[in-house]
Symmetry: C2
């Protein structure tokens, strides 16, 4: 993991008084400039390709590095603070260090109690993770750091390919959280993402989404009118590990790649059958199956034929195309992609071909990204998430291995996913005496009366159920829960509702 010490002047650090204004997570000027990214990349030796968008790569890398660095500064900073706890003027010293290193102050009450026994590092750690998450969200919703000018035409492009909705279900594994914005280089606001363990999406939920989309087309002509000959495209993304296929593949399928792919395809077919059987008048959808190597971020696309059938044994492999076209020009590479696609599926539909060609081309940039910044593959091929996210929402999470995602409405329905998450964090955090930070989030629609109050109740109910299920960890201070919501009908950031660190201490300190 690359870390940046970032002790240079930042707005938050300059102020020095509480309440501290949130410092931007990203280095000023980092967006679009990529100077820092280029420098880091230079250290490894930049890998590129005629179709690679180097500017995008630098910008995306600077964002990823800065966000992760903000989380990764917490432990060294708290170590420094811990070493000072019995010194004179400890509280002032600690706050100065926190402001400089983290960009925010620590909760005064925790520091003030240190003299009695010792500093409660567990609460402090959880508080810092939650505060950093909050700053990360504020940055995301206020500054739109992942926006790109290229994104504007995407909806029109998608419709030209014959699709009015792109609905992707990746595995909930944190190593796929960057699928949309990084691996496929798609505008995240134009894609519906709903993650599930093993990519086994909920068919009833998808039918409901399909119903909403089709009604909007009929009533509001959004995104296009119902008579336009476009379809709803459902994509499943399974994953595997090229470096350690037996252990670092998809846990939900026992690291068995063939099983993961087959289960994803089965679920796709079942969804199409459900739509065709439940609605008359020729209702149907289009399907696409994508495999992701979580070590290199290379995709392989199982391209459907003219009848919509998908062959598990045949796929277009972006990594092979990258290597085969690495030394040629852009036009040669584009032709090679098109040829590989037709070889894989001779009767592919033109619109589907157009979309898949774009996905493959986009993925070449990500392959170069990983090789430039991480070498032949990521160093963290296993889990290295910083916190668990439980609930619905989290569209700001577009980074790999940042959050373990437990999509859920209730703990009762999601015990399997949560148990896996807690097990992962038992290794990552609890083994080192640090608590598991869990962010419980249910967003709401501010224009629906009572919606915010219901989201608040929902958060409280799930937080209580989590703490009951993992009672032992909770009692030992090794599980902390932050409850947040966000109004989907407004542009603002998240709202903090409650925090187990301290009922009186609001994470973020402002």
């Amino acid at each position: 993991m690359l870390r940046s010490t970032r002790q240079s002047a930042r707005p938050g650090a300059r102020q020095g008084n509480t309440p501290v204004q949130p410092a931007p997570l990203r280095r000023p000027g980092g967006v679009g400039q990529g100077a820092a990214g280029r420098a880091s990349a230079g250290a490894r030796g930049s890998v590129t390709h005629a179709l690679c968008r180097d500017d995008d790569n630098r910008r995306l890398f600077a964002y990823e590095r800065d966000v992760k660095a903000a989380f990764d500064r917490i432990v060294p900073t708290l170590k420094q603070v811990s070493a000072l706890q019995h010194e004179p003027q400890f509280e002032q010293q600690a706050q100065r260090i926190a402001r400089e290193q983290l960009g925010f102050e620590l909760p005064q009450d925790i520091l003030a109690d240190a003299w009695v026994e010792q500093l409660d590092m567990r609460r402090l750690f959880a508080w810092c993770v939650f505060s950093t998450y909050r700053r990360f969200c504020d940055d995301y919703y206020r500054n739109d750091p992942l926006a790109s000018r290229d994104d504007e035409g995407f909806d029109a492009f998608l419709q030209a390919c014959g699709f009015h909705t792109l609905d992707i279900s990746p595995c909930a594994d944190g190593r796929l959280a960057h699928l949309v914005r990084y691996v496929l280089r798609l505008p995240q606001q134009s894609v519906r993402r709903k993650s599930y363990a093993g990519a086994l999406f909920d068919i009833e939920d998808s039918i409901q989404k399909w119903t909403e989309v089709e009604l909007a087309r009929f009533r509001e002509g959004r995104p296009n009118t119902a008579d336009a000959a476009t379809r709803y495209l459902k994509v499943v993304t399974y994953h595997y590990s090229s470096v350690d296929p037996q252990h670092q593949g998809c846990a939900a399928h026992g690291s068995d790649t063939a099983k993961a792919a087959a289960a994803g395809l089965e679920r796709l077919y079942a969804f199409r059958e459900a739509i065709e059987n439940s609605f008359c008048c020729g209702a149907s959808i289009d399907l696409l199956l994508i495999g992701l190597d979580t070590d290199t971020d290379a995709i392989r696309v199982h391209v459907p034929d003219a009848q919509g059938a998908i062959d598990l044994a045949s796929a277009v492999d972006a990594l092979a195309l990258f290597d085969a076209t690495a030394r040629g020009g852009a036009a040669d590479a584009t032709r090679a992609i098109a040829a590989a696609l037709r070889e894989c599926t001779p009767d592919v539909q033109p619109g589907m071909a157009q979309l898949v060609e774009r996905l493959i081309e986009n993925n070449l940039s990500q392959i170069a990204y990983v090789r430039t910044n991480h070498g032949q593959h990521y160093a963290d091929i296993g889990h290295a998430e910083r916190f668990i996210g439980a609930g619905v929402g989290f569209e700001e999470i577009q980074l790999r291995n940042l959050m373990y995602f437990a999509y859920l409405n209730t703990v009762e329905e999601a015990t399997a996913d949560l148990d896996v998450g807690i097990k992962i964090f038992s290794g990552l955090n609890v083994a080192h005496g640090l608590p598991v930070p869990v962010i419980v989030r249910f967003d709401h629609h501010g224009q629906v009366p009572g919606s915010r109050a219901r989201a608040e109740q929902h958060c409280a109910r799930v937080a209580a159920a989590l703490q009951a299920r993992f009672d032992d960890l909770t009692q030992r201070g090794l599980l902390h829960v932050l409850q947040v919501t966000r109004d989907c009908d407004r542009a603002g950031s998240i709202e903090l509702l409650a925090c187990s660190v301290n009922a009186q201490t609001q994470a973020g300190g402002h």
Copy 2:
């Protein structure tokens, strides 16, 4: 409670061998004949009204009496069986009594174990309740005992009034379970019923239903095309007790009638606002608020004005209209209803007036029904449910005080409702040493692949969560759970999935 010994010949009783065919719950010839109903009614003195449908009343009463009698025969029958348990040839004698009294045989393994200690009456009682429920469902889905020829034109009538959907949310209290078919005399298959504690329906769920309905109108012209000037009508039914208003009103609102009505109206307005804010192009819905006196089954209707506003202080009172018109002719009564409506709400919309007039007129039959069969009010003004139903479905439950309804997806979200249900049954059953019978049910759509398997998992998960929450009762054999599902896409009855009484003993014995 009226009971019938019903030892006359029934198909089930004639056979005498296991597996026993389910005996019909209803007396042969009882449907449409009403001879038995008339006889019983005669005992109390028939009460009628010029607008009362006496034939319907007899038919509905025969059905209610037979179904409840089937459940109410369980305790006296098991008492008889219990008294014999140390006699020679106990098992044969017990089976003979069970066949004669209940129409089915008892599980052989429970009888066979009686000699070791004593007969396990708790398991036996739960098994009998579940078997009777199964026979009740089989009868409902196979024989359509509540069908009426008048129902055929109802959808057209509703559309003529300006509504394409009638969606009613009553309180989940068992004393309102007969609202649709009995109190309002509507065809239950033409009405969406979704019950909630305190009638406080889920707005997000209702938005989803509205979306489905509107899409069906656009895509399939069902029930009418989207350009027809009809609207979705949402009705809330709160309730109160005229006999003991301080104690037998709505528990969710502390038996405070004004509070129950105000909360229902607030939820209705919130739903309309949610639709208007979430969808453009003039999307809106119509609203109606109805109060029900659970002692007399008389309704009062808060009629919306031309702007859709509802006045809590003004309502059309069916009981007052019944008494005022009891001695006159049909035409006078019809005129009186229309006049009362206009007096209540002078600018009522013509379509809404037409619908409310029909509801009031229908309710006059139910007022006569209660007076004829029960006197001035029901004897069981409090809770007297026979079992708890938890989950989704249960459209066969159209009888008062038969089932305590806990509409839920998870125990986690429904602890308040379930705790109330268990408390009620602690008084009804546990205090007498009898277990709480809970039927967990999630229906499925057979045409959606995997839907049945998911319903099965859902039932198992909820059953486990129930048993965990009420662990003490479960351990003492005082909580038994039957898991069932039904394929909504086929005409068949329910399917039994699992039963806590005995993994090997299938309730229903066939």
